[in-house]
Amino acid sequence: MVELQNVKIKYPTGDGIEHISFKVAPGEMVFLVGPSGAGKSTVLKCVYMEELPQEGHVTVGEYNSLFIRKKDIPYVRRRLGVVFQDFKLLNDRDVFRNVSFALEVIGVRNKEIKKRVLRALADVGLSHKSRKYPDELSGGEQQRVAIARAIVNEPYLLLADEPTGNLDPDTAAGIMDIFKRIHARGTSILIATHNTDLVSRYKARVVKIKKGGILEV
């Protein structure tokens, strides 16, 4: 359902990725591992079509990067959830509105929004903090808000770019537990990380990339 085939993206600086091919099957959890600068983020950007491959192609559900029209890209993203190392929360609104925002801007009806946001916040264990603002929360809590926002539209694939990069080991473990729970419900997850320790503690397929090419699947 998500497949990268011989994807190449080269930036003018010379950085980028090349010969990237792998799949994420429905319900699968995959770690994308590699050192900083190997192009993990670029691979994720290809999946949510922030970048389109210069060679090769990416398939996400029924969408293919070769044929997709620009105006259809938002609809690809509605089927995905994305979580970042730096959370990317909106500081001018509380936890509830940060999560509900993801539904508001794609035109979900108000009644439905409330139900789904409360469920997502319960999933990440933050129901009691829904009126707090991001800067009143710890790093781990902020990342949980970001995860709630990513799963609130019930994506079939959750993408995470170094989701524990800014967190201490205990908090990181808590975040990983949440991913595991989400995965257990049948959502596919692709986590990019350079933390090999984290990878070794969870049972999941590992895709290793190094300076542009895939080493090991």
Binding site: E104, V105, I106, G107
Partner: protein, 282 residues
């Protein structure tokens, strides 16, 4: 839902770039105000020219020694000229009546016989009604045998035509300045708002908001700026014209559609300005 969101965002944009918003509104209103002055002037001069034009373009006075056949001959020579749309013969008797109407004096009570010559009033075809053409034609007619004198509203008409042309050119130039100026200030304001909203816009893109949905508040924002600019320009124009009217009654006619014109122009420029900004910065 989506419209409510867009309107709310558009108004919050105003808070985010308040100074820029006001500069933008006042620039638009100032430019539109100036253009409304020149437009009104041009329109008034053109109306005056139309009134003068509608009367007579050229008057040809004939020598008093011509007999009827010779007069008819001169008439047909003039009539055969390309530029002539209509030819009207005025006999000495008719001229005397018109003189009487104009001056309220019985001509024959002063003089024994009628000193007024017969004349032709020439109306030109629309496309030949320029001062150069009128002068040229007057010279041609002057050379026809039996023509004594040719008269046209050379100086007054020429001056008016010149002024009207200048006013029209200035209006057109101003229009270009207004368009470019409005586009610049509006798109700059939108750019500032977009920059201050970068986080929100990125998040929207990430969760799959359509481009249309993301840009709608900024389009509204531009339209609001233009609308306010147009409104202020209209109020200023109204004030100025009221003042002119009170000082010199009847001097100016204000265009009826000025209000709608200014609002429409404001809205249009605001809309295009934000469109430019969205294309470039979003």
């Amino acid at each position: 839902m989506s419209l409510k969101y867009s309107i709310r965002e558009a108004f919050s944009g105003f808070k985010r770039a308040r100074l820029s918003f006001f500069i933008s509104v006042f620039t638009i209103s100032f430019l539109l105000f100036i253009i409304s002055i020149f437009f009104t002037l041009a329109m008034n001069v053109n109306q005056l020219i139309d009134v003068l034009n509608a009367k007579i373009d050229i008057q040809v006075f004939l020598s008093t020694i011509l007999d009827d056949t010779e007069i008819a001959q001169v008439g047909s020579t003039i009539n055969s000229l390309d530029q002539v749309a209509n030819l009207e013969f005025v006999s000495p008797d008719q001229a005397a009546k018109m003189f009487q109407q104009e001056f309220g004096e019985e001509l024959f009570s002063i003089l024994d016989d009628n000193p007024l010559p017969a004349s032709f009033n020439i109306m030109l075809k629309e496309e030949y009604r320029t001062i150069e053409n009128i002068e040229q034609l007057a010279n041609t007619i002057m050379k026809i045998d039996g023509v004594d004198e040719v008269e046209y509203h050379s100086e007054a008409l020429g001056l008016l035509l010149k002024f009207s042309r200048i006013a029209t050119v200035i209006s057109a130039l101003l229009l270009i300045v207004v368009v470019i100026g409005s586009l610049f200030v509006v798109s700059n304001t939108i750019r500032l708002i977009v920059i201050s909203r970068k986080d929100i816009i990125n998040t929207m893109r990430l969760v799959g908001a359509t481009r249309h949905f993301i840009s709608l508040p900024y389009l509204l924002e531009g339209i609001i700026q233009g609308l306010l600019g147009g409104l202020i320009a209209f109020l200023f124009s109204l004030g100025l014209f009221a003042f002119v009217q009170s000082q010199w009654p009847g001097l100016l006619t204000t265009p009826e559609y000025l209000f709608y014109g200014l609002l429409l122009a404001g809205v249009l420029f605001g809309y295009i300005g934000s469109l430019v900004a969205i294309k470039r910065y979003l």
